[in-house]
Subunit: 355 residues, 2 copies
DNA sequence: GTTAGCACTCAGATGATTCAAGTGCTAATT
DNA sequence: AATTAGCACTTGAATCATCTGAGTGCTAAC
């Protein structure tokens, strides 16, 4: 598996590349006869057959059955993406579309990610996903309180760069002057604290600070705790699930069902991706069973981290059959992720921040 | 089609009901022989065959081919749900689960709907959907501005009962004292206005009011307009798409793809549902082609409006094969929608409000 | 009005046959 | 020693004929 990567002579490489390309294009096993048409390989079908037999022995090719051609194994795909493909660049017009779409949404990271994922699916014709990873330490950076009427108010919390809101309903009235005061107390006392760090003495101190309005503290603090605990920041979205169905490898209903269930449960994928999302700024590729849940054999996951001011804030990617158009997908994801980063980094941010 | 609904004698009703029940349970065409086992129908297979022939003539039954049994037509299902099923009540434990899950999320309508739709899918084993309809006249009811650092702030807008936020970035500094002032001006001048009603003279007046900080008005107003125009309130979510695949009627890949595309585009469904969602507080049922997009023949849509203080604020429903367990689905959707309404109406709201 | 009986229909299952693509191997060739 | 032509062999997929049985419609008897 790991270790001494066998060296392939040029002809083997050409053959392997031709097989993967042909199989990606057509979906069928590839035979020796067909390969003789390829200009890069100047030899007869018999020779190719010998080479193929060796490639199979090395683990790069597989045979569905005796009388069929060869298909690439997962190792074959791996070798292909690592060593055989040259970089593919998007056309000018594609880049334009991409830039244009992103520029629309100057501000909201959420909106940008949503746009990007839609675009990714459209450009590649596979299912796309966007991810915002779980956060380790969750705390509110800032509070604001908006009074709606005598008994209801909206508590507004800034968590990282996400704004969360929660309705507060009280049995007793919420006087207008109390809201600003309460917001002040919250900002003074529990910004930067995780749910576990909000202790009873702290709450009691806040009640003392609120004087006559102490009855407001408990419900509000409870709301804060609920929000913090319920918020892990993790968010995983899919676009273009229907595109999966265009590929025959997903015609197996049972497999498809499991895959869709995976999409809906999200936890598993969220975990896998959150783990990997930190690692580096290269396009990551998981082929088949390499790293993922067992459901996803004969699927490939291609994704890349999106950074803001150098810190990872999410990822976008593509899910498709192992037999996917890697060059195109990799280029798209790479450009998109770069584009997002540029867009959100655009107005340079001062160094210090409150995360 | 409409008009004089033919009257069926009791035996025909019993036969029709038995056929629909059996077909829902088994998915296969139902033959005369099988029906003789049914206690409600005390006659021989030959008699049943005669009755079935008449029912077919009336349009309530269909024959896939000569030598198969009968299946209900859409009209047959319609008659069945309108006149033949008795109300099915959820078990105590089911109701408990339902109540319990809803109670968790006291506040946020969004969160409640999310919980409900997950629950609906789980309880019925079909795909569930939740809807928040488009809104006609969109305006901001309240502004708040939260300063983050010298050049960025978060604009917080209350639209209906939804809080929307937008980041504001400025080339020039945003002084702390300007934020409260700006929020005040916004609240004074453009609450209740739609995007079209925010005119240039109005903006200029606001700039005058802001004095030295007039440069902040334009970017903020632009952000407001973008938000208002981009927000139509419409939101449509699905849960349990994978459950569709359990039913053989969706084994046709092409059909399935179209259906999934429908789920992703949303516009069409959003329109259909938004239109119908206003109408009454009964459970609505669309069978096959009755009212929907052509993609959805042999699917049925069951849904019900969710109201808050008597006003419709959304809907939840189920999508499944026409051959679905109507009694169970209807009961579930009904209870859920009731449950949500109760939960959000719970703390009585004063009459007046700002929508 | 109901039922038994029977000829008829037709989708689906089963099985035999053919087809063609592709291999592996051997022997000839360079 | 590497390459190639040639050929026997394997095997999934496609085609076709046959069989089966569930279910019907109709007629005649009850």
């Amino acid at each position: 598996m790991s270790g001494g990567e066998k060296v392939l002579n040029e002809r083997k490489k050409a053959i392997l590349k031709a097989i993967v390309d042909a199989h990606i294009a057509g979906g069928e096993p590839v035979g020796s006869k067909f390969l003789t048409q390829n200009q890069q390989i100047g030899c007869s079908s018999a020779t190719i057959r010998n080479e193929m037999a060796e490639l199979e022995e090395m683990g790069y090719l597989e045979q569905p059955h005796t009388s069929a051609g060869r298909i690439p194994s997962e190792a074959g795909y791996r070798f292909y993406v690592d060593q055989l493909i040259d970089r593919y660049n998007l056309t000018e017009s594609e880049i334009d579309e991409l830039r244009g779409a992103l520029r629309q949404k100057q501000n909201e990271l959420d909106a940008i990610m949503q746009t990007a994922v839609t675009l990714a699916s459209k450009l590649t014709n596979y299912t796309a996903l966007s991810l915002r990873p779980r956060q380790a330490r969750i705390s509110v950076g800032r509070f604001e309180l908006m009074r709606l009427d005598d008994t209801t108010a909206v508590l507004i919390m800034l968590i990282g760069s996400v704004v969360k809101t929660k309705y507060i309903r009280s049995n007793r009235t919420i006087p207008p002057e109390a809201t600003a005061m309460l917001a002040g107390v919250l900002n003074a006392k529990i910004t930067g604290l995780t749910a576990g760090e909000i202790t009873l003495p702290l709450v009691m101190e806040m009640e003392r600070m609120m004087g006559d309005y102490d009855y407001l503290v408990t419900p509000v603090v409870r709301a804060v705790c609920e929000t913090i605990s319920g918020f892990d920041g993790g968010d995983l979205r899919f676009e273009g699930i229907n595109r999966l169905l265009a590929y025959p490898e997903f015609y197996d209903m049972d497999r498809l069902r499991e895959l869709l269930a995976l999409f809906e449960k999200k936890d598993t994928l969220l975990e896998v991706l959150s783990d990997e999302a930190r690692s580096g700024d290269r396009v990551q590729i998981f082929i088949g069973r390499e790293n993922l849940v067992k459901v996803m054999d004969n699927s490939t996951l291609v994704f890349k981290t999106v950074t803001q001011n150098g810190k990872p804030v999410g990822a976008i990617g593509i899910i498709g059959p192992t037999r996917m158009n890697y060059r195109r997908v990799i280029a798209t994801i790479d450009s998109l992720s770069r584009g997002i980063t540029e867009t959100i980094d655009g107005p340079r941010h001062p160094e210090g921040d409150e995360s």
